[in-house]
């Protein structure tokens, strides 16, 4: 899953970036509204963390303009806590409104909820035959037993699991598993797919030649 953090406060931005990366997300950052809007319009992020008090263009404007083009889940992150501001934020099109200072763990949970909802999945646990993906705990179980996956491997599984039964193109996978600064080796994806197949079974992820990958999830 790929996230965009638009926050001008340097130390806070750094903390968010680091913390989210450690959770296994691919993270892009922006320092001001202009840069943030540009990136948000260019990529399909799984969620955007948007501060309100931004230089050049404030968060309200970014949100408003973004909504003309994309329906990316947006979580507003701001020190402005009046009811008026909250209502405004939510009515302008954000999906959640978190007031600073916040608890990091709570923030993570809200991000997970946003992604879950936008994937159309009500539950945080996805059953794929013998494999169970617990998106809240970020663990994968097979036949009841936990399976060790790296952050990237988990991210790959989670993404395909959320789109169970649908083909996901390689490009999409790249766009959602790697951040701006990560896009280096083009066969990194294949390596991860290979590793997952080793751990969860050859047929867990099916290849559709010329299209992409898919998890059917029916059999095991």
């Amino acid at each position: 899953m790929r996230l965009l953090v638009i926050e001008d406060e340097k130390d806070l931005r750094a903390a968010l970036e680091k913390g989210l990366r450690e959770e296994g997300y691919a993270v892009d950052v922006a320092e001001d509204g202009d840069e943030g809007l540009f990136k948000a319009e260019s990529w399909d992020y799984d969620a955007i963390l948007l501060d309100v008090m931004l230089p050049v263009m404030d968060g309200w404007q970014v949100l408003e303009r973004l909504r003309h083009k994309k329906s990316t889940p947006v979580l507003m992150l701001t020190a402005r806590d009046t009811v008026r501001d909250r209502v405004r934020g939510l009515d302008l099109g954000s999906d959640d409104y978190v007031v600073k200072p916040f608890s990091f763990r709570e923030l993570l949970a809200r991000i997970r909820a946003l992604i879950r909802r936008s994937a159309g999945s009500a539950s945080s646990v996805l059953e794929l035959g013998t494999v169970r993906v617990d998106t809240a705990k970020r663990v994968v179980l097979q036949n009841g037993g936990p399976v060790e996956l790296t952050a990237r491997e988990y991210a790959l599984v989670e993404m395909l699991a959320f789109r169970k039964g649908k083909v996901v193109t390689r490009t999409e996978l790249y766009d959602h598993l790697f951040a701006e600064e990560d896009q280096t080796l083009s066969n990194l994806l294949d390596v991860h797919v290979c590793n997952v197949r080793k751990k969860l079974g050859k047929d867990f992820i099916e290849t559709r030649r010329g299209h992409g990958y898919i998890i059917e999830g029916a059999a095991g």
Partner: protein
Amino acid sequence: MIADSIRWQIQAWHGALLVLITTILLTFFWGYERAQRLSRVDERLQSALLMVLPAAQFELRQEEGHEGARPPPFEMGFGDFLFDEGIQPPHEERRPPREPKGQRERPEILRAKQYLSTLEATSIYTVALNDRHHEVMRTSNAPGIVYPPDSPGTDGESRFRTRSGYRELMHFRPRKDVLIVGTSISEVTVALQKLALRLLGIGLGVVGLGLLGGWWLASRAIRPIAEISATAERIAEGDLTQRVETHGAKSELGRLAALLNHTFERLHNTFEQQAQFTADASHELRTPISVILAQTELALMRDRSAEEYREALECCHRSGEQMKTVVNALLELARMDAGDVNLQTEDCDLAEVVKEAILYVEPLAEQRQVSIQAELEPLSIKADKEKLKQVLTNLLTNAIKHNSDGCAVNVELLSEGDMAVIRVSDNGAGIPEAILPYVFERFVRADKARSRSEGSTGLGLSIAKAIVEAHGGSISVSSVEGQGAEFVVRLPRGWKLFGRLI
């Protein structure tokens, strides 16, 4: 409570005044009427007296002359009694007066005696008393008892008196004789009593109606006051958006209502400003707090390297410093708001102060590649040196920060009349028109979020303004966006005493 009510007070005074005026007027009227009636009576008595006088004189002289030869007249007593043939008893047939034996009566005496007999048919009576207060003559319609005068009178004097229902005119003759002409005034008295009752009735009616009318008028006048009170009460309970009705702002109450509304408006705005300030202040502090919490939470989420911990701690430290700056600035502003400015004034060489400030910001200027020019006139005033330095540093820092490379900041110090003037101008980015009127307000920044991480609080100019104004001076700004800005600080050079600078 009743005593406190304006309405009741007005009523009481109004009523008292009404009663007083009505009483005085009606009493005067009644008194006048009484005087009028009595004077009419008195006139009749006067003319009767003139008519009767000759007869009385004759009788008195007669009595005098026949003293001893006549039987002494009756003592005062009840009932009718006759004196010689001159007077006829009323129930007997009137006979023309006969000449007394041996004496011819003069014509006026005859006339008088005739008049006397006609008098008896009227209510006017007459009695003559001699010096021993014996009755010498009386008409039959005189009251049973006729009192002699209380005090003697001089010859020729006439005196009126009112005695138990009779009005009498007493005419004094020589040798203490007195002629009394009187009449019953019971009719007059009764008429006056009736008049008095009627007047009383009228008076009560007037007072009653007046009180009712007054009550109604007072109520009408007081009602707006009650309305205003009610509105003010609602406002006091917390709803500062309420306003008083001003039905036509020209009357006294209308002006009061308008004034109250104006006051409430200002109160409301002040509270709004306070609320806004609190929101802004907490916002300013929330950001560094968020950083600290995020960094520490993150650092504690898993085992970290020493380097990571150090970075986290450095972030926290920076944020702590930021909070300290904001809190200190807020406290300073709060103190100044409360009037506790605490200026340590001393003789201050302004040129020196400016130079020190420039020196202080030099590293920043160098970093930004901004040059600072100064034209300083030697000028000494009484001021708080440290605080002025703070002001100048703030202005210079702003100028440097809002400038791009290669720009210049200019500082001028000169005297204009009795003011010391400091100008700090730059040719950098300038201040956007939208916020130009608000730059001296708290938490207003040229660019909402810029340079927060560089330690800017948005309070510098507010504090600068407060310091300058505490010195009795003023600060102003002019700017064209894109062309730079100029801040002008004016400080009084000294205090004026009788128009001279000291």
